[in-house]
Symmetry: C2
Subunit: 709 residues, 2 copies
């Protein structure tokens, strides 16, 4: 049982009089451990900042500012009115997470600027410096000369010191489902990727020299730098334009149908712009800066929010064995009203019960069913009314399924694919959530495949950012946990809305069916990029690694089976899918045991070792238990991982059940080769794990009941 | 009491074998009384049609067709597969209207065409010929080669025979609130008007040679031709591009944010394109063709739908005496949360009770209150969340007002101004209508001032057309009558949704405050243009005709007081406002008597005489009563109108109370000059009415209780 910990909270607030503040003079500097920061106004009165790490520069002097409508350029002629500061050191407990409690320790500097021109404009910039980086945001106070306005451009720059090695995907306004690649900044060229979103490259990736955040870079001097944003609310997502000659990055906001970026009203503040910096890659993965920059939970009663594992009537459609849609004869339906079943519809009552039986028998708590509701025949058409969110196909008995799941102690997970038609979904949302409540669906997966309606809006623009948050809030009102597919990249909002469990917003396991797949290094990059802002529903746990897709024998997972297990640890999510079909698990029940056992909520996490594009090893302690789990993955290279088990309790003996690649395992030719063994270990033990090319290892540490030292 | 009439309905359906149909040959011709029609395929296989009236050509041979996406051009290479025909003669009873029953008598020809190319495409065109014109629409049957598609252009043409005198307003995508002007077709130039909608002329009126429908024309040979559309559903509004050298008109559809016109799925049909034609102007006004082309009521129980007159807490804000908004200090609200009242807020409980008292005492059934709900301070800003549709300002007690109105037998009319943010309204609609039901609001005025959200969409595009219909349906679900301001132009949908009582969609009386006003001829053109598709909430009944607006003494009504009364008859609406404030009515209670007495629902209507831009005289018989009302208006010219009273029952004596312009009345210098007298008349009498420049006359005929002939 989970022993409830007392909440530890300390809060130190102090206004520090910086030297020279009474003279309102710049520059102003702050330091937290290795991270140093300076704010200045340059000769043109442009606000600039700079970040250092130890003796090295991390971000060179970089400008801050905006272009607004009404002819307002907030780019120069600023003066410092005053500056004030505060130091905060508090500890808070997330509702769920990688650790039981999080320290939020920062120094804050607020510079109050005025731009003098025809009309004076007030602009505050708030900087928070942490031991692992800097967060800052713009705040527009209430003022006479600036009320409602349009953001035409945000000018924020992040000037790099050199041609860093960069892990990037192109700046598509509507998709993040690209393979990560690494290259020097100077070699970034978004158009070398085929377009993934629906539309045109010109319309969706107009800037071929721009990339998505979180952007992971490694400098020649060994510094790791990660740029992203926190608390993205009522504002478009930030992309980064790359100047390939100067290595300057600059904010590029996703536009709306009219080419505008954001519609604002003072008082207003932007999301936080974040720069995580360290000389250790592991610090990037353990940083809690983005969570700390988000507001505390707005949901008071969180007792209904519970991490879980789930299966899905999903992969069988994904690989083409069955279908989401009920009929293949839409002309018959449109013409004569005849609903001719295709006989391949997966979400039928009988099949769903089969999944419920398997999940129930094997202790998997949740079951997602896709394709249960009307609309799957023509949902990628360019129309607005795509889905009915409460009307099942004729062969899916909502009541019977719901009752059966309840009797079998399995939690049904609702699926609302919108096909990108957010307007249609918003109109039906009240009805859809009442339906979920009526039939006991406590979780929801939404989806936004295809072009957005309102037409001309983008997945990552201000309108859709607000839409996703509306869906999260509406879900919270109905005590429903939410997992959003195809939204923009997360920015730590799961602190504020802890029912926002996970999202996709990246290239998941499914691409191993769609395409030539995700190369083995993909999963070693995702935690440094996509996962920086929040959990990803990556859908791990595919056991049938080859020959899963009828008619396309060349498609295969770029992974060994053992690596599929390791992903449950290395790809953090409080909702973890066991993505394969029951039959494929039945063939490997010894390995499936790890999926059954692995926790989804944690008291502690140790990033044992990590290098983006190469390897990641993480150990996590299960919530409220003296049990640890470890996952280690590698890229396409074979690797020996040596893990000191010093995270285990001293003076205790543990059993370690090791799920490892077999001797001859290799992702392409022999992925199913794995071995399982159980040994006794202590905190002094050192584990050597051999990871095959594209392989991994998963370990389950349990306290031995009667330890005899 | 209204004696319920038995429903007279006769329906004759017969398939007529046209000569030559078995050979699938064209041309095909039909004739109804004076109206003749021919369909043909020209040498290129392009469908063409032609309309004649008597011996004159009304519409020269004109093409039909489309440009779709997927590279499909439906402009030529068509062949006739078959043609079939039917004759219909039925009579139906509107829930409310200008007459008690309507004859729907037409011959229908359906041509089934196939375009042979790489992929053969099926297209049907349905023509209905009436005694007063032609309606036709395109129907896309279910077919293998055309499923979902985008309409890029509709090619429908209406080729005129000459440089007709035309009554037109410019083809703004977002507004119809222009002064009508008349000019030859060759002189149409939309840009001579200042832009009225928010946006730019380039964005909102890109085609300076285009005009809105209904378009009223008069040919040199005396033919009156009116072009519009009927049953506009799931399609953008049609504008007409004018070729000023050939006098050819062609369909120009309002685009969406992406420049597309409509998103469709077969089976699908367009709205009806309508051409009303006659050698008598009065026939244009009495035509029921557009209503007949709409579907019968989809609302089964219509007992809750009741025409009425209403007053409004409105004009006092409109003229600037009081305000919609509660505070003038938004910076205080945004900054400190302090809600400082401006002391000018009209929709306060006390003031509303004052209106309720007046309405109750004087038998005006309804009361509209604008500005009662939060959001009026910054509602024209370019933001999405503008209004809260259920939260009143602090000085408006919804419950108290609702109870007071009920006790005084006055029906409260809800007001939901959206500021154009349809997305925000759609999200709140469920809540807003539940609120109306809770507080007993049976009617609703909505509004769409300012730019549309979804951004990039237009008031008259497919998305908004669908939105208006969603609002009508939602209102019907909640038994609420609806009056929509700033929608697209109506197309007779009030037959199908009889809770859709009225709309604005034109330049109402209010412009006499906003601007240099509506010239005296404006109201003589509106019935030939804006009102062709449905009732207009024109807001007549202003009694204080000058000096109503503080600080702008030059503003005045372009009307005498007597003309304001006449508008209750000449501007048909089942919702008629008494738009002035109680104090201004109190100064002329003798004239106000007409507004109290005038009916809003009718058993019969006679268009006595009419000429667009010059004069209109209409007599109407009150629903279920032996009472007639007559309205006569003129333009800026003085005029003597001679009316034979042969519409009255023979062998009966009536009293006629005549509200006429005074001897020296003139709209500019002496508008308040009126005279009221009561005389006895019979069906043999002839009334001579002197209409002042900008003047009019209103007459109330009542059966004398004890007639002694």
């Amino acid at each position: 049982m989970f022993k409830k910990q007392s909440i530890f909270l300390s809060l130190i607030l102090s206004v520090i009089a910086f030297k020279g503040f009474s003279q309102q003079s710049v520059p102003l500097s702050l330091k937290m451990k290795n991270v140093g920061f300076t704010f200045n106004l340059n000769a043109q009165g442009t606000p600039v900042y700079q970040i250092s790490y130890g003796k090295n520069e991390a971000v060179k002097s970089s400008v801050l500012g905006f272009k607004l409508d009404q002819g307002i350029s907030l780019a120069e002629n600023f003066k410092l009115l005053k500056a004030d500061s505060v130091t905060v050191d508090e500890t808070w407990k997330p509702v769920w997470g990688e650790v039981a409690q999080i320290r939020n320790h920062y120094k804050q500097l607020t510079v109050h600027l005025v731009q003098q021109g025809q009309k004076s404009i007030l602009l505050d910039i708030v900087f928070r410096i942490f031991e692992d980086g800097l967060g800052f945001r713009y705040e527009f106070p209430v003022q006479e000369n600036l009320k409602s306005f349009v953001v035409k451009e945000e000018l924020t720059a992040f000037n790099m010191t050199g041609d860093h090695k960069t892990f990037w995907i192109p700046a598509d306004f509507d998709s993040n489902e690209y393979k990560y690649t690494s290259s020097p900044l100077s070699a970034i060229d978004a158009r070398k990727w085929g377009l993934i979103s629906s539309g045109t490259i010109e319309g969706n990736i107009p800037d071929q020299s721009a990339v998505q955040t979180p952007l992971m870079m490694k400098a020649a001097n060994g510094l790791y730098i990660n740029i992203h944003e926190a608390a993205l609310i009522d504002y478009p997502s930030m992309q980064l334009h790359v100047d390939k000659s100067t290595f300057g990055l600059s904010s590029s906001l996703v536009p709306d149908a009219r080419g505008n970026k954001a519609y604002m009203r003072t008082p207003f503040h932007t999301p936080w712009r974040t720069v995580i910096v360290s000389d250790k890659a592991t610090d990037i993965l353990s940083s809690k800066m983005i969570l700390n920059l988000n507001e505390p939970s707005k949901i008071e009663n969180t007792s209904w929010i519970k991490p879980m594992k789930f299966m899905g009537v999903w992969w069988e459609m994904q690989v083409g064995r069955t279908s989401w849609n009920y009929t293949d004869q839409m002309e018959t339906l449109h013409g004569e009203g005849k609903y001719v079943p295709n006989g391949r519809h997966a979400a039928n009552t009988e099949n769903v019960k089969h999944y419920i039986d398997f999940a129930s028998k094997n202790g998997i708590e949740g079951l997602l069913v896709e394709g249960w509701n009307k609309g799957w025949e023509e949902w990628t058409d360019d129309k607005e009314e795509k889905f009915d969110f409460v009307t099942p196909y004729p062969d899916f008995d909502v009541k019977a399924v719901s009752d059966y799941a309840k009797a079998k102690n399995v939690k049904m997970i609702m699926h609302n694919e919108t096909g990108g038609s957010a307007t249609s979904y918003e109109r039906q949302m009240d009805t859809a959530f009442r339906f979920m409540n009526r039939y006991g669906y406590g979780s929801l997966k939404t989806g936004y495949v295809s072009g957005i309606v309102p037409r001309g809006e983008h997945h990552d623009g201000q309108w859709m950012v607000n839409h996703y948050i509306r869906s999260i809030k509406k879900a919270a009102d109905h005590h429903v946990m939410i997992d959003i597919h195809e939204p923009t990249r997360p920015t730590g909002l799961h602190r504020t809305y802890p029912n926002f469990m996970a999202s996709e917003a990246g290239r998941g396991n499914e691409w191993n069916f769609f395409s030539d797949g995700n190369p083995p290094e993909h999963e070693t990059i995702l935690p440094f990029t996509r996962l920086i802002g929040g959990p990803m529903d990556y859908t791990p746990g595919i056991f049938k690694l080859r020959d899963y897709a009828p008619g396309v024998p060349e498609r295969q997972m770029h992974s060994t089976l053992a690596k599929q297990l390791a992903l449950y640890i290395t790809m953090y999510s409080p909702l973890q899918m066991a993505a394969d079909i029951p039959e494929n698990y039945s063939a490997h029940m010894d390995a499936f045991r790890f999926i059954q056992d692995v926790a989804v909520d944690w008291d502690d996490t140790r990033i044992v070792e990590a290098e983006p594009g190469e390897y990641i090893t993480i150990a996590r302690k299960a919530k409220g238990k003296n049990e640890w789990f470890l996952g280690a993955i590698t890229n396409g290279e074979k690797r020996e991982t040596v893990v000191k088990l010093d995270f285990l309790d001293k003076n205790q003996i543990y059993t370690a059940t090791i799920y490892a690649d077999g001797k001859d395992a290799e992702w392409k030719t022999n992925p199913e080769n794995y071995q399982i063994k159980t040994i006794k270990v202590t905190a002094k033990s050192v584990l050597k794990l051999m990871l095959a090319p594209g392989g991994g290892a998963a370990v389950h540490f349990r306290l031995l009941t009667n330890p005899k030292l």
